[in-house]
């Protein structure tokens, strides 16, 4: 698991051998490669950037170049045991609809995102009066692809409103897993395991 981002390492640990997995926004396929190599998983990816797709396919992975905002519709219902959306939700045109699609194509979903209510973000906005540029959100407002910033509490409200069940939540700061106490202040990233 070495080298995998903390949220991906948790996902890789939790996916059972033999599962069918779709990684939405899979980048160059780090998680897919890990899953295929270690766990006899049928892992597929969807990625917008052709250069990243090229790198994934060159590693022997199954990656389709496509836009998660519209191309998830190409997959049949419950085609996968797990649909994964890691640190991509905040870039979606409609995160709520993407969540629906995720739980349509996957029996369960893993969703991770940067928590906009982390204390550094709050401090940057409160004291600096500017859009936060932090370790978790390194790009300025004009160049970031994050168009729907979200907090842990916002996300909990959304899934509650949708009647989506939470099977597990993990929080991360400084690249490590942290406890749930005060997570909406302390967590830079959150990972949810969801089912409907």
């Amino acid at each position: 698991m070495s080298g995998l981002r903390a949220d991906l390492a948790v996902i890789a640990r939790l996916i059972e051998p033999g599962s069918r997995v779709l990684d939405v926004g899979c980048g160059e396929g780090q998680l897919l490669a890990e899953l295929e190599a270690q766990r006899d998983v049928d892992a597929r990816g969807l990625e917008l950037d052709p250069e990243l797709v090229e790198r994934g396919v060159s590693r022997g992975l199954s990656v389709v170049q496509g836009d998660a905002n519209c191309d998830l519709g190409d997959y049949p219902d419950k085609a996968f045991d797990y649909a994964i959306l890691s640190q991509t939700l905040q870039t979606a045109q409609r995160p709520d609809l993407m969540l629906d699609e995720l739980l349509r194509v996957g029996r369960k979903a893993f969703v991770s995102f940067p928590n906009f209510a982390h204390w550094r973000t709050r401090a940057a906005l409160l004291l600096g009066g500017r859009m936060p540029v932090t370790r978790a959100l390194p790009l300025s407002w004009y160049e970031t692809q994050n168009i729907h910033h979200v907090t842990v509490r916002d996300f909990c409200d959304l899934i509650a409103a949708k009647g989506v069940g939470t099977e597990g939540v993990w929080y991360f700061s400084g690249g490590h897993e942290i406890g749930a106490t005060g997570a909406n202040w302390r967590a830079e990233f959150a990972l949810f395991k969801l089912s409907r």
């Binding site: 052709p50 590693r59 022997g60 992975l61």
Partner: protein, 374 residues
């Protein structure tokens, strides 16, 4: 046109059934192979050629003397590495490089000409299967092709799902569009309007080279991109400082097309051009599985044999400058494969050369092909 001698050829001992209802008796399939077949026959890669291609994928063309048409992709150390793979490339039936086609001698001792049955892309795939049957290859490591080669690849995967472990279709489509058919019809009309065509029975007489050259010129434009043509020729004049105020090839692009057209007639049979373009126009993978009328089939049904990971791994590649078989056509196939849960990869590569990009210098293509065949 001169008839080439293929270095290897197979004469089928059974009749080859055709979609038109007829069958071909004692069909001959000319082919080339490169690299050694391993003991368990698991390293065979079948390369399917395009409309005017041939079996000389990685060796010199016997008529033109030019290098193989895909030498940058197939050879020792190349993405399709002949040090690792046993590469097979067969001339499609209907063509004119040694496989049975309209210029071949029919069982009655006369040339077929237009008595040759109209064939389809699926018939071509049947002939490919007959060849690998004869070679004793149960399952191909990979079947790969671009353009019409890609159509054969898709047809083979749909109709013979257990015969290939990897399916790589480049710059292609699952059905010919109205625009595709329209361009082909221009080419066919050019051939048939040539008085030398004689209703197809021109063998032993002067061939309809003028018509065939025009057909090639028109088609060649569709293989390039506007940007590519502009970059290569612009409005530059050919060997002259001034316009001639006549109908000579004033412009470089005219001279180039004329050269392409006349060169083509040296190596290709006009009737073969009619038959193969017809086969491409008839190609509609979804229609093949439909029970009812035109267009009622679902493309996903064509790939039912690959449902839920039981079949091959697929990879489709398109090029952003290809307006003949644009990216949307590849996506259509990807969509169908996703619908049956087949493992599929897809990428649209950026290249300036239009449809012909699959034959030209596109390093990203080399990388992904190499990766997919790992």
């Amino acid at each position: 046109m001169t008839t080439a001698i293929a270095s290897q050829s197979l004469t089928l001992t059974h009749d080859l059934p055709l979609d038109c209802g007829q069958s071909l008796a004692a069909a001959r399939i000319a082919f080339e192979t490169y690299g050694e077949l391993n003991a368990d026959k698991s390293n065979a890669v079948l390369v399917c050629h395009a409309l005017t291609g041939d079996q000389y994928v990685a060796s010199n063309h016997p008529i033109t003397g030019k290098p193989g048409w895909w030498e940058r992709m197939v050879g020792p150390g190349r993405p399709i590495d002949t040090g690792r793979f046993h590469v097979i490339c067969a001339n499609v039936i209907g063509s004119c490089m040694g496989s049975t086609g309209p210029s071949s001698i029919a069982p009655d001792g006369e040339r077929y000409a237009l008595r040759f049955p109209v064939i389809t892309v699926r018939d071509m795939a049947r002939a490919q299967i007959a060849l690998i049957d004869a070679l004793g290859i149960e399952r191909l490591h990979t079947v790969v092709g671009g353009s019409m080669g890609g159509m054969q690849v898709l047809s083979l995967a749909a109709n013979f799902p257990e015969r290939a472990a990897r399916v790589l279709a480049i710059a292609t489509t699952a059905r010919h569009s109205a625009q595709n058919i329209a361009f082909h019809e221009v080419g066919r009309q050019a051939i048939m309007a040539d008085p030398n065509w004689r209703g197809g029975s021109y063998y032993g007489h002067a061939a309809p080279d003028a018509g065939l050259a025009v057909a090639r010129m028109a088609a060649h434009i569709t293989y390039l991109s506007e940007a590519g043509l502009t970059e290569k020729f612009g409005r530059r004049l050919q060997d002259r400082a001034e316009k001639s105020f006549g109908f000579d090839a004033d412009f470089q692009v005219e001279s180039y097309l004329r050269y392409q057209g006349s060169g083509f007639t040296q190596r290709f049979d006009a009737n073969s051009y009619l038959y193969i373009t017809r086969a491409m126009d008839y190609f509609d993978l979804a229609e093949e599985v439909s029970s009812g009328g035109e267009g009622s089939g679902k493309l996903a049904d064509a790939f039912a044999g690959h449902a839920m990971g039981k079949g091959a791994r697929f990879f489709l590649i398109s090029f952003d400058s290809d307006w003949l078989y644009p990216t949307a056509e590849s996506r259509h196939v990807v969509h169908a494969l996703n619908a049956v849960g087949a493992p599929v990869s897809f990428v649209e590569l950026s290249a300036p050369h239009g449809h012909d990009s699959f034959l030209l210098d596109v390093p990203a293509l080399d990388r992904v092909v190499r990766g997919f065949l790992r």
